[in-house]
């Protein structure tokens, strides 16, 4: 009975996704904002992200007592503007997430396609590789490589690719396993279509939607992973600005300056939430039958 009555959707859900299946406008805007900040960062920041101004140190956000309109989100212990640093941090987050996802998607999808299509020894070898990779928890693995590789963006991307490619490989392998039994693939084989052409023309377009959905959903989770590494001091190194690094700095002043740990965290949360919502919408739109990711 209760199903028949149209219940008012919660306010938050209404704001974030207008109606069932509607385009998540707010989520898309947040992601667009992150990308714009990443591209145009240095021209958008009200102050220079690394500029130290000890006279302005520990200014609270503008709306709090003692805040000033000069620094909307306040300043840190060295007087650096938090808003400018968050905008600068968007560049690192977006950069790492985009590279990491594209590379793990390419590696994972190629291996997954090969495993699903060729079967036999190739499948067994790739599947064992996936098993091994998945049996090493990603955070300890990240620490292992953080200990031996020079720190920086390239290392963070490498570490993320190492633990994320398996998702793409498993997804594509499963899909290709069922695709290769379809008539049009079998007929293409009989007709003598070259294997690379089958991959490129017939398999790839069929898994592209799923890859796009997974990539969108993982954009946020990669940002969280990178923030975690940088928070531990194993990821992006100062003077480069990252949201995780800002949280690590702010942690030392947790009892005097609440804005230092809330603001960068909100930036992480907003980007991750936005990517999850957009990913959900993409999945419902592109793959309405299975919704299996």
């Amino acid at each position: 009975m209760s199903e028949a009555v149209a219940l008012p959707r919660p306010l938050l859900a209404r704001l974030l996704r207008r109606g069932e299946g509607g385009f998540p406008f707010l989520a898309a805007s947040v992601l667009a904002l992150v990308l714009i900040c990443a591209l145009l960062g240095p021209w958008l920041t009200p102050h220079e992200a690394g500029k130290i101004a000890l006279a302005d140190a520990m200014t609270p956000p503008a709306w709090a007592e003692g805040g000033s309109a000069k620094h909307l989100l306040g300043t840190d212990n060295l007087g650096r503007d938090i808003l400018s640093r968050i905008i600068a941090g968007a560049r690192v987050s977006a950069n790492v997430a985009l590279y990491a996802i594209v590379i793990s998607g390419l590696i994972g999808a190629s291996l997954g396609m090969a495993a699903g299509y060729f079967g036999g020894f190739v499948d067994a070898a790739i599947s064992r590789l996936i098993d091994v990779q998945m049996s090493v928890p990603s955070i300890p693995l990240a620490m292992l490589f953080a200990a031996v590789l020079p720190p920086g963006e390239a290392m963070v991307i490498f570490i993320i690719v190492l633990s994320y490619w398996t998702w793409y490989a498993r997804l594509v392998r499963g899909e290709v396993l069922s695709l290769r039994e379809r008539d049009y693939i079998k007929l293409a084989k009989i007709a003598g279509v070259a294997t690379p052409v089958i991959f490129y023309r017939h398999l790839a377009p069929n898994v592209l939607n799923m890859l796009l959905v997974l990539a969108t959903l993982q954009f946020g989770s990669v940002i969280v992973f990178e923030a975690g590494l940088s928070f531990l001091g194993l990821g992006i190194q100062p003077p480069n600005v990252s949201w995780g690094g800002m949280l690590a700095d702010g942690r030392n002043f947790i009892d005097v300056a609440w804005w230092l740990i809330t603001m960068p965290g909100l930036a992480i949360m907003a980007s991750c939430l936005a990517s999850n919502l957009l990913g959900d919408w993409l999945r419902d739109t592109l793959d309405p039958v299975r919704r299996q990711i």
């Binding site: 919660p10 091994v132 049996s135 955070i139 300890p140 490589f145 531990l232 740990i261 949360m269 999850n276």
Partner: protein, 307 residues
């Protein structure tokens, strides 16, 4: 069942060997370990002697052989910082990490089970909708940030609970919430959907027809069966929590293996890092194995099917 058991154990062994191979490769990437072990002013002869003692002058496959033989005995070398066997150091800290991960799991279940059951029974109700929003937000918030916020509000502002260290139950609460936060959403959704399936099944309808109290049906009969998919997840999440604990331990200064490994990374104490990764992989594989093999205990259908 026996064949299945053997197959799963073999898979576990392959995974561990693979993990050891990854660790070995990383070790070779790290450059010359001898440089870290000898004093700055050591001569070329001392270097050569040390290399020979460690087997570093042999070809790579032989080195991997030596590494494996030592690894199987739990020997990853001595910690450069503490001058004690790396694995022993970590095993001393393992109980603290297990305690934290277990507490996180308990917190997640305490929240997820009632939420999942109530949102399936009152579909579309207030709890169901609130749980959805909560899940959406929860999936987007990193656990270590939750930890920082908990320290800020509960420990610093309200001063209800201690923010750092290990000790009594009061020390355990905040890190457990930070660690157990993430899986709540997924667990709630899994339990909700399996409860919905089961509440719609013939035997539940039968129980209703007999006139059993609804509370009995839901909490005693339906929940027990609906727990099966959740138990699968519990293994995976418990194993993930051991990894996630690495970050949470740093936030709360918790004296577990995670913090030891992070410290070791900064101190370039490679044996401890290696031992930590292998230990994490071992526990991860073991937990998943135990979960896979224990379905039969919960669901007799699986037990008899494979017998």
């Amino acid at each position: 069942m026996r064949a299945y058991f053997v197959k799963r154990v073999l898979q576990g062994v392959v995974a561990i060997v693979g993990a050891l191979l990854i660790v070995f490769v990383a070790q070779r990437l790290s450059g010359d370990p001898v440089a870290l072990m000898l004093p700055m002013d050591a001569g070329e002869a001392e270097f050569a002697a040390m290399r020979e003692a460690l087997g570093l002058d042999k070809p790579l496959p032989a080195q991997f052989g030596i590494f494996m033989v030592n690894a199987v005995q739990g020997d990853f070398g001595d910690s450069y910082q503490w001058q004690a066997p790396a694995m022993t150091l970590l095993l001393e800290r393992l109980p603290a990490t297990l305690e934290l991960a277990l507490a996180g799991l308990v917190f997640a279940l305490l929240l997820a089970v009632p939420l999942g059951v109530v949102s399936s029974v009152h579909r579309g109700g207030l709890v169901d909708r609130a749980a959805k929003v909560f899940a959406m937000l929860g999936q987007a918030v990193p656990g270590f940030w939750i930890g920082l916020l908990l320290i800020l509000f509960v420990a610093v502002e309200l001063q209800w609970l201690p923010a750092f260290g290990r000790g009594g139950l009061s020390n355990l609460v905040l890190p457990a919430i930070a660690l157990g936060w993430y899986p709540v959403a997924a667990m709630t959704r899994t339990l909700r959907s399996s409860m919905l399936d089961i509440l719609d099944s013939d035997y539940v309808r039968m129980e209703r027809a007999i006139g059993l109290p609804e509370r009995w049906i839901v909490w005693r009969y339906a929940l027990r069966n609906a727990m099966v998919p959740l138990v699968t997840m519990i293994g995976v999440y418990f194993a993930n929590m051991l990894g996630g604990a690495f970050v949470i331990e740093v936030v709360f200064a918790w004296p577990g293996i995670g913090r030891a490994v992070v410290d070791a990374v900064f101190a370039r104490d490679f044996p401890v890092v290696q031992a930590g990764v292998v230990l994490a992989a071992l526990v991860f594989v073991a937990v998943n194995l135990i979960v896979d093999l224990s379905y039969g205990l919960i669901d007799p259908r699986i037990r008899h099917a494979k017998a």
